[in-house]
Symmetry: C2
Subunit: 319 residues, 2 copies
């Protein structure tokens, strides 16, 4: 019998831990919200205890699981399992997160970037099943990505490869990204850019049909706000969706030129903007790529859905 | 004893064929200039005869060579050895170039993009010797590149991966690239952009100290023209070198974010602009990458030099 998979998704608001079967289905899951402000060693203890409790609850022993996969946003050094820096937790600067958790278990513990974990989950269980290679990109507050080449995650020397979100697509743009640069894909085309993009349109004199109070706090403009505007028929929200889709399309085109991949899988919250957004991404991609496509490239939406983070993490020991 | 290597570099003006030893040194070389306007079958015959004559001249038999590597600019499908399209030769649309040449030889014939061949040459014999992985980029009239990951060329599904030159770095730019798009790296930062960039500067009222006749033909502005201007202290030429270096620096930064590689090797004619150019490329790269570099990344100049094309091609059977 195949051993059970165990995944941990360290988010900025919730910590999800799940037992997952070899078809990528969740057997049992634990979600807690009190993990963020803990000192590092307490956090390690918390994660380890949650895993052990989940095993006990399901009448499983540590020897019944193949390994423990952990996904966390941020920069980490894959080869030694060090969390270099993450905005999801307090502290954790150059913290040996993998080895600390490993010290409580005998089965292998694997720590990777959350987007890498999701990419591998899609490859094993989702839209990438059956493909040799794919590029996964998740578009929500930020933009994360994972590169799978010949059945393996490509991570680079540190483990920070695949940061398409920080590639520069227009150095003349104004908004400063959290990376410290202007003009990267994240700063023009994802959730964190929306307050700026909306305010810019209003400043330029574009008319929104959304009733904005005089003291409107633009920082509340997020993906859901824009979606609501779209559903109301607001032209400003629609323009922002088109602008974002345009730059995402350019991002995919750049991926095509660099990787010439058979498959790109898109995930993340902004896809809830729907077909109008996805069509703009795709039409921009095809306008740029045109007759340079000699073998089919598929652009599809991720299939795993809400639990992609923890299922992806659980898939890591299968690599 | 190691078998001899044989390389063919199909350029737009010259056809170079060489026998190369296992240290990447040329044993003997043939260069001809009459290959471009031949019908496909005559060209295949010509290449085959040149290889055979070169072997005979050096008292070698086909069985003394490991294989024949062929490098050619353009788009080709690596897996079946088809030249899809190339601007270096007339015709050759979806032409089975590899198999046509293979039919005249028993040793394996390998056809690849010229930049891939150069990348592999640098990896085997040049600046990449001893490295596991590298990104090679050659900057001359166009921009070519090759990706080496874990000792192997990464080619993508068709064989067109690594086209960093066609990634969009500023969609607001005006110059149309040969690829049909505006704003790709090639259209802002290599030889083919120089006439446009120079004319733009003059249009903007920038003062050149170069004496331009009233009927000055801007199409003659090339890398050598700009270099001469630089040596004279011309501010317009210097600005163009800085602008090009800036975008190349962005190109390298994007490579860093996507591949997190240990090594980037730069080659090509525009490097003759010298330190002022290379320093601008590097300083831009480091301004963008800053504290996101957690493991050393080296940016070095290619070591193989003038014969990089044919030596790279010869290295292909070593993959």
């Amino acid at each position: 019998m195949n051993k059970v998979l165990c995944g941990v998704d360290i988010g900025g608001t919730k910590l999800s831990t799940a037992l997952v079967d070899h078809n990528g289905r969740i057997i049992d899951k634990s979600v807690v919200y009190d993990h963020v402000n803990q000192p590092e060693d307490i956090f390690v203890e918390q994660v380890s205890l949650i895993i052990k409790a989940l095993l006990r609850k399901n009448d499983l022993d540590e020897s019944d699981i193949l390994g423990i996969g952990i996904g966390c946003a941020g920069h980490l050094r894959f080869r030694d399992g060090t969390m270099i820096t993450t905005s999801n937790l307090k502290g954790f600067k150059n913290y040996p997160l993998r080895d600390s958790i490993q010290s409580n278990f005998k089965v292998p513990v694997i720590l990777d970037n959350d987007a890498n974990a999701q990419a591998f989950g899609e490859f094993k269980f989702g839209a990438g099943k059956g493909s040799n290679s794919l590029i996964f990109m998740t578009i929500s507050t930020g933009i994360g990505a994972g590169i799978i080449l010949n059945h393996k995650l490509y991570r680079g020397i540190t483990g920070t490869a695949g940061e398409f979100g920080h590639t520069i697509v227009n150095p003349d743009k104004d908004l400063l990204c959290t990376c410290g640069n202007k003009g990267c894909l994240m700063s023009v085309a994802c959730g964190m850019a929306l307050p700026y993009l909306f305010r810019q349109k209003i400043k330029e004199g574009k008319k929104t049909i959304i009733n904005l109070p005089g003291d409107f706090d633009f920082s509340q403009v997020d993906g859901k706000f824009i979606k609501k505007g779209l559903d109301l028929g607001d032209p400003v929200c629609k323009e922002i969706i088109f602008d974002s889709g345009f730059y995402l399309g350019i991002g995919l085109y750049n991926i095509f030129q660099v990787f010439n991949p058979p498959l790109i899988v898109l995930g993340g919250g902004l896809l809830s903007w729907g077909d109008i957004y996805l069509e703009k991404i795709k039409s921009t991609f095809y306008e740029y790529a045109r007759d340079m496509i000699y073998d089919p490239i598929e652009i599809v939406v991720s299939q795993i859905g809400a639990d992609a983070g923890v299922i992806g993490a659980a898939s890591l020991p299968l690599e």
